[in-house]
C-alpha cells in the first residue's frame, strides 16, 4: 500500500495519458469511417455497409442498422492492416524506412498533452481546464512539436529510394516551410487580443478559450481565422494541398513503397493531424467549449456541467472534421506552383498586414481608453 502511495503521483498521469490516447485513436479510426461515408454520400454511393461482428451484428433490428452505418468497418480495416504480409522492398534504406511511419504518428499524439478539451470548477469556485498539462506556452508547444511531423514524410520519401516518393518528400518539406510562417503570423493577433494586460494565461489555449466568452474570435478576427484554416489544410497535407501524396502525378507520393501496417501508421497519422487541427481551430476561433457567442457557460458547476462542456467541445470538433472531409471531396487539387505562390505571395503578406493592422488597433485602443 505504501508502495502504491509512493507511485501514485507517477501512475495517475500515465493512466490519464493512456486513456486520452485510447479515445484519440478511437476517434482516428472512426474519422476514417466518416471520411468514407461522407465521400460516398457526396458521390451518391452507399459506402461501407457490409462488415458484421458475429454477436452484436445479429441483434434483430439494431444489428442491421449498425452494419448499414458501417460501425464495425474500422475493426475490419485495422485487422486488414495487421494481418497483411510485412513487405520491405529491397532497395530501401531499412532504418529510416521503418522509422518514418513512427515519426509521422508520434508528434500528432504528443501534441494532445497540452490540448484542453473541457472545463471544470474546482473547490474554490475557479474554472480550470481539463488538460493533461496546463502550461502557459501551450500554443507554442503545439506549433513546435507538430513542425517535427514533417520529418516522417520527408524521411519516408528519401528512404524509399525511388523517384515518386522522393518528389513527394521534397514537396512536403517545401510546403511545410512555406505555410508554417503564415500560420504562426496569423496566430499572433489572436494571442495579442486574448492575453490582455494583467491576465496570467500567456500563450495557453485555455486562456484563448476563456477570452472568447462573449465574442468568438472567428467573428472578431475573420482574416486570422481564414489564414489559419488554409495553413492548417496545408500543414495536415489534406486536399486541396496534398502535394506530398498527389496520386494522379506521384502514384502515392511519399508512401508509394509502403504497405500493410506501416502504411496504416501513415494513414492514422493523417487523421490524427486532422483531429488535432480541428480541435485547435475550435479552441482558437470557435470558442472552445463556450456554448454560443454571448451565452458562454449555461451548464453550471456540477459534474454534469463538466460533461456537457466536453460534449459541446466534441460536437464542434466533429463538425470541423466533417468540414475537412467536405473540402476534400469538393475542391480539386492545386498545382504545385499554385500552392507555392498562394503561400508566399498571398497568405504571408496578408498575415503580416493583418498583424500590423491589429498592432495599430491595439495601440490606439490602449492610448484612448486609458
Amino acid at each position: 500500500m505504501e508502495l502504491l502511495d509512493a507511485f501514485l503521483p507517477y501512475l495517475l498521469p500515465i493512466v490519464y495519458a493512456v486513456a486520452m490516447i485510447s479515445v484519440f485513436m478511437g476517434l482516428c479510426s472512426y474519422s476514417v469511417l466518416a471520411e468514407r461515408k461522407v465521400c460516398s454520400w457526396i458521390q451518391g454511393r452507399v459506402g461501407p455497409n457490409r462488415t458484421r461482428v458475429p454477436l452484436l451484428g445479429h441483434i434483430p433490428i439494431l444489428g442491421n442498422l449498425l452494419t448499414g452505418l458501417g460501425i464495425f468497418q474500422p475493426a475490419a480495416d485495422g485487422l486488414k492492416f495487421l494481418f497483411k504480409e510485412e513487405i520491405v522492398p529491397g532497395h530501401v534504406n531499412k532504418f529510416y524506412y521503418m522509422l518514418a511511419p513512427v515519426l509521422a504518428l508520434a508528434p500528432a499524439l504528443t501534441t494532445m498533452v497540452v490540448l484542453p478539451f473541457g472545463r471544470y470548477v474546482d473547490a474554490d469556485g475557479i474554472t480550470q481546464p481539463l488538460v493533461l498539462a496546463n502550461v502557459d506556452l501551450g500554443m507554442l508547444i503545439i506549433l513546435g512539436i507538430s513542425s517535427l511531423g514533417v520529418y516522417g514524410i520527408v524521411l519516408a520519401g528519401w528512404a524509399s529510394n525511388s523517384k515518386y516518393p522522393f518528389l513527394g518528400g521534397i514537396r512536403a518539406s517545401a510546403q511545410m516551410i512555406s505555410y508554417e510562417l503564415a500560420m504562426g503570423l496569423a496566430l499572433l493577433p489572436v494571442f495579442m487580443w486574448a492575453a490582455t494586460p494583467g491576465s496570467d494565461y500567456g500563450m495557453s489555449l485555455f486562456g484563448a478559450v476563456q477570452s472568447q466568452q462573449t465574442l468568438w474570435l472567428f467573428i472578431w478576427q475573420p482574416l486570422s481565422a481564414l489564414i489559419f484554416l488554409v495553413a492548417l489544410f496545408a500543414e495536415t497535407n489534406r486536399l486541396p494541398f496534398d502535394m506530398a501524396e498527389s496520386e494522379t502525378d506521384l502514384v502515392g507520393g511519399f508512401h508509394t513503397e509502403y504497405g500493410c501496417f506501416k502504411f496504416g501508421l501513415f494513414f492514422v497519422a493523417e487523421y490524427a493531424h486532422v483531429i488535432m487541427g480541428s480541435a485547435l481551430f475550435v479552441l482558437l476561433f470557435l470558442g472552445g467549449w463556450n456554448f454560443l457567442p454571448g451565452l458562454a457557460d449555461p451548464w453550471g458547476e456540477s459534474l454534469i456541467g463538466t460533461l456537457l462542456s466536453i460534449a459541446w467541445f466534441t460536437t464542434k470538433v466533429f463538425f470541423m472534421i466533417f468540414f475537412f472531409i467536405w473540402m476534400r471531396w469538393t475542391l480539386p487539387r492545386f498545382r504545385y506552383d499554385q500552392v507555392m505562390s498562394l503561400g508566399w505571395k498571398i497568405l504571408l503578406p496578408l498575415a503580416v498586414g493583418n498583424l500590423v493592422f491589429n498592432t495599430i488597433i491595439i495601440a490606439l485602443y490602449d492610448t484612448f481608453t486609458r
Partner: protein, 180 residues
C-alpha cells in the same frame, strides 16, 4: 531525478553532435543534428527555460533543419567532393573549434570560475529592478518583459542584423531585368 535526466540528455547531445560531424552521409548528419537540437531543448527544460526550449524546437529542429534536409535532398550532396579548398576549410574549422574548446575549458577550470551549480537557482525578483515590475518567473511573460526593457538594445540590434541578412538575400537572388 533532474540530475539523472541531465546526464542522459547531455550524453545524447554530445554523442549526436559528434556523430553529426563524423558522419559521411549528409542525411545521417542532418538527423543527428536534429537529435542534438531536440536534446538541447530538453536541457533547457531542465533549466526551467521553457520558452527557450520550445523556440529551440520550433525554429531549429522544426524549420531550419527541414530546410537543411530539403537542400541536401535537392542537391544530392553525397557525391565525393574532397577537393583542396574543402580540406583547408575542414582543417581551419577544426583548429578554430578546438582552440575555442581549450579556451572555454581553461576559463572554467583554471580561471578561478566554477562550473554552474546543479541545483536550480532560487527565483529572483524582477531583474530590471526598476518601476513596479513583475516577479521574475519562468513564464514567457517575464521573458518578454526583460527582453523589451533591459535588453531592448541587443534585441533591436539583432533584429537589424536579420534585416540586413534578408536584404542581402533579396539582392543576391534578384534577377536583373533587361530594362534597368
Amino acid at each position: 531525478m533532474t540530475d539523472t535526466l541531465f546526464y542522459v540528455f547531455a550524453a545524447i547531445t554530445l554523442i549526436s553532435a559528434l556523430l553529426m560531424v563524423v558522419s559521411p552521409n549528409a542525411v545521417n548528419g542532418a538527423i543527428c543534428m536534429i537529435i542534438c537540437f531536440v536534446t538541447t531543448a530538453a536541457l533547457f527544460v531542465l533549466l526551467e527555460a521553457y520558452f527557450l526550449a520550445v523556440i529551440q524546437v520550433l525554429v531549429y529542429a522544426g524549420a531550419v533543419m527541414v530546410l537543411f534536409l530539403f537542400i541536401i535532398m535537392l542537391l544530392d550532396v553525397n557525391k565525393d567532393t574532397s577537393d583542396l579548398l574543402k580540406d583547408k576549410m575542414t582543417l581551419g574549422a577544426s583548429i578554430t573549434g578546438f582552440t575555442l574548446l581549450v579556451i572555454l575549458t581553461l576559463s572554467v577550470f583554471a580561471g578561478g570560475q566554477h562550473l554552474p551549480e546543479t541545483a536550480l537557482l532560487p527565483v529572483m525578483e524582477n531583474p530590471t529592478g526598476e518601476g513596479v515590475g513583475i516577479p521574475f518567473t519562468t513564464s514567457a511573460k517575464s521573458f518578454g518583459y526583460s527582453l523589451f526593457t533591459k535588453y531592448m538594445l541587443p534585441f533591436q540590434v539583432t533584429g537589424f542584423l536579420l534585416l540586413a541578412a534578408m536584404i542581402g538575400v533579396i539582392v543576391v537572388s534578384k534577377k536583373h531585368s533587361e530594362n534597368s
